[in-house]
Amino acid sequence: MAIEIARAKPAASTDSNADDPAFLKIRDLIYGTSGIYHSAEKLYLLISRCARRMLALGAASPAEYLEHLTPRGNRTAELRLLLNEITIGETYMFRHPAQLDALRNVILPQILQLKNFVGLKRLRFWCAGCSTGEEPHTLAMFLLEEKEKMLAGWTWDILATDLNDNSLQTARDGIYGEYALRNTSAIMRRKYFKDVGDKKLQVNDLLKAQVRFDRLNLSDDSKMVFQKGLDVIFCCNVLIYFDLASKRRVVQHFHSNLLPGGYLFLGHAESLFQVDDSFRLVHFPGTTAYWKPTAAQAGEGKK
C-alpha cells in the first residue's frame, strides 16, 4: 500500500490524528513483521497502544513515533515494546471460548475417532509460550469438565513451556487476581481454585496436577525435535516476536511435532500467510486453526 510520508503535526493528542497515514504505516509494519493484522475497524486499538509508547518516548506525532520504528531508530527494541503493548491483557482464563468450542465440537471428536481406530486412548497438548499459565490452566479445566463425557476412558497430558523464568514461576504458583479470572465462572472457581486472601485465588491440587511447566526456547532446534506425538498445540501471540526465518523454523517444528490429524492454534489476529503453507487453514465458528490432515483427510479436501 502506497502511503505518503506524514507531515509532523504539533498536537500530541492521538484523538485528533486518527486519520494520520503514519498509523497505517505502523499497521503495515506490525503486520509485516509480526503477522498481527488490525482491520480498519480495529485501528483505534493500535492507535491507543501507540499512544502509550508515544507518551513514554515523548514523541509529539505519529510520524515522529514512526521514526523510532525505522532502522534509523531503535527498531528492534521499540518494536518489541510496542508488541508488548498490543498483546497486553491478552491473557486471562477462558479468553477464547470460540477455540474451546471448536475443540469440543469438531477437533476433539475428530481426533478421538482417529485414535480410537488405533486403540490409543491418550491425548497430548502443548501450550508453547504459556506466559503466566492462564492458557494451560484453562485447557486443563476444559478437559476435566469433559472427563466424564466425551473423554471418558481417555487420559491426557498438558505440557506448558515458556522462555521467561519469572512467568513460569507465576504459572507454577498458580495464584491469580480478578483480571485473570474475569471470565471464570463461580462454579469453575469453586471447583478448581482455593481462596488465598487478598482477593486472589490459587489453583487447587487437582488442577495443579494437570499441567507440567517447563522452560523451553522455541528457537532451540535440539530441544524442539524432541516434542513428539502432539495432538493440539497452542501458540498464541508468541511467533509475533520472531523474525520471518525463525518463525518459519518454529512452525515447521510444530508441523513435525504434531501427529497427522492434529491442530495448531495461534492468536486471534495472527496469520501464517506467506510464512508456511504446510498447514491447512480451517475456519470454525468465531475462530480459525491450522490443521495437519492425515493422508486420508487431505484427500477428502473438505471436512
Binding site: V282, H283, G286
Partner: protein
C-alpha cells in the same frame, strides 16, 4: 429431484404472485435488478420509491440514521443519493420480500435472514474485488439473492420447512442437508426456480441453485464459487441462519476455491486470515444496517414523504 416435483414446484412458485399481496413496486424493482447498475437512472429509483409511502419513509429513516452520518435528509432523492443506488436496490428487495412473506410464515428470523443475505452480498463483493472479478456489483447481487429459496420454502411448505429448521438447529447441522432429507429438495432448487420465474440471468440462477455444491455444475461460474465461499465464511462468523452450526471449513481445500484459483490466480495472494478479520470488523455495520432497515417495521411508518 424428479421431473414431477420440479414441475409442481414451478407451478407453486408461479402461484406465489397471486397468494401474496406483493407490493406494486416489486415488478419494476425486479426489472431494475436485472440491469447493470450504471444503466439505472436515479430518477427511476426516486419514482419507484416515492410510490410506496412506507418504503419511502424507511429510506429517509436509514439515510438519517447515525450509520450514514445523520444527514438532515428530507427528500427521497437526497436519501437515495446518501444511501447509494446499490444499497437502495438491496434494501428495496428486502422490504418487498418482507411484505410478500406473511408475518406468521417466517421460519428463519427475518433479522437473521437479512443479516446473512446482506453479509453474504458484502463479502461476495469484497472477495470479487480482491481477485479482480470484473463485475463486483453483480457479485453483490448474487450474494444478496442466493438464499431466497428459503423464503419460497417458508411460504409453500411452511410446516415441513419449520420441521427442517427445528431439526437442523437441534442437531447444529447445515440447513440444506436437512431440507434434502425432509423435503427431498433444498432452498437451492426453489431459489433457482424463483430466479427463473423472475427472469434473472443464468449466472444468478446458477449461484442460487449451486451455492452449496458448485460441483453440480459442469461449468461452475466464478459467481457461484464466490457465493459458496462467502456463504461459508458468513456462517463461520455468526452471520448464519440464527443457530449455531457445528463444523470446520477448509476453504482452501474447497472445490470452489480450486475452481476460482485457476481462473483468478490473484486468489493465491489473498491472506484469508486477514480477509476474515476485515469481515469481522465489518460485521457491526452489517448488523446495524439490517437493524435500521428491518427494525423499522416494528415502528409505525410516517404517513408519507
Amino acid at each position: 429431484m424428479n421431473a414431477e416435483l420440479h414441475a409442481q414446484l414451478q407451478t407453486q412458485i408461479k402461484n406465489l404472485d397471486s397468494i401474496s399481496t406483493a407490493p406494486a413496486i416489486l415488478k419494476p424493482l425486479l426489472d431494475m435488478l436485472r440491469q447493470p447498475s450504471e444503466d439505472i437512472k436515479v430518477e427511476k429509483v426516486v419514482e419507484l420509491v416515492s410510490c410506496d409511502g412506507a418504503i419511502a419513509a424507511q429510506c429517509l429513516r436509514l439515510a438519517n440514521s447515525p450509520l450514514f452520518g445523520r444527514r438532515e435528509t428530507e427528500t427521497v432523492r437526497s436519501a437515495i443519493m446518501a444511501l447509494g443506488l446499490e444499497r437502495v436496490r438491496s434494501m428495496l428487495l428486502g422490504l418487498c420480500m418482507n411484505r410478500v412473506i406473511p408475518e406468521d410464515k417466517w421460519v428463519i428470523e427475518p433479522d437473521a435472514f437479512w443479516r446473512h443475505s446482506l453479509g453474504c452480498a458484502l463479502i461476495t463483493q469484497r472477495m470479487a474485488q480482491k481477485i479482480g472479478y470484473p463485475e463486483p456489483e453483480k457479485a453483490y447481487l448474487a450474494g444478496l439473492l442466493h438464499d431466497l429459496g428459503f423464503l419460497v420454502n417458508s411460504v409453500i411448505y411452511n410446516e415441513e420447512f419449520r420441521e427442517c429448521f427445528r431439526r437442523a438447529s437441534e442437531q447444529h447441522a447445515p440447513l440444506h442437508v436437512v431440507e434434502e432429507q425432509v423435503l427431498g429438495f433444498s432452498h437451492c432448487e426453489t431459489g433457482r426456480l424463483l430466479c427463473e420465474h423472475w427472469g434473472l440471468s443464468k449466472e444468478m440462477r446458477d449461484s442460487a441453485g449451486c451455492h452449496h455444491d458448485v460441483s453440480l455444475l459442469p461449468d461452475a461460474g466464478p459467481l457461484a464459487c464466490l457465493v459458496h465461499l462467502s456463504d461459508l465464511l458468513c456462517r463461520m462468523r455468526y452471520l448464519g441462519y440464527g443457530y449455531e452450526e457445528i463444523m470446520g471449513v477448509d476453504l482452501g481445500g474447497d472445490v470452489a476455491w480450486q475452481t476460482l484459483i485457476s481462473a483468478y490466480p490473484a486468489l493465491k495472494n489473498m491472506d484469508l486470515v486477514r480477509f476474515t478479520l476485515d469481515i469481522e470488523g465489518a460485521m457491526d455495520q452489517i448488523v446495524a444496517t439490517v437493524d435500521s432497515v428491518f427494525g423499522a417495521k416494528r415502528v409505525a411508518a410516517p404517513a408519507t414523504t
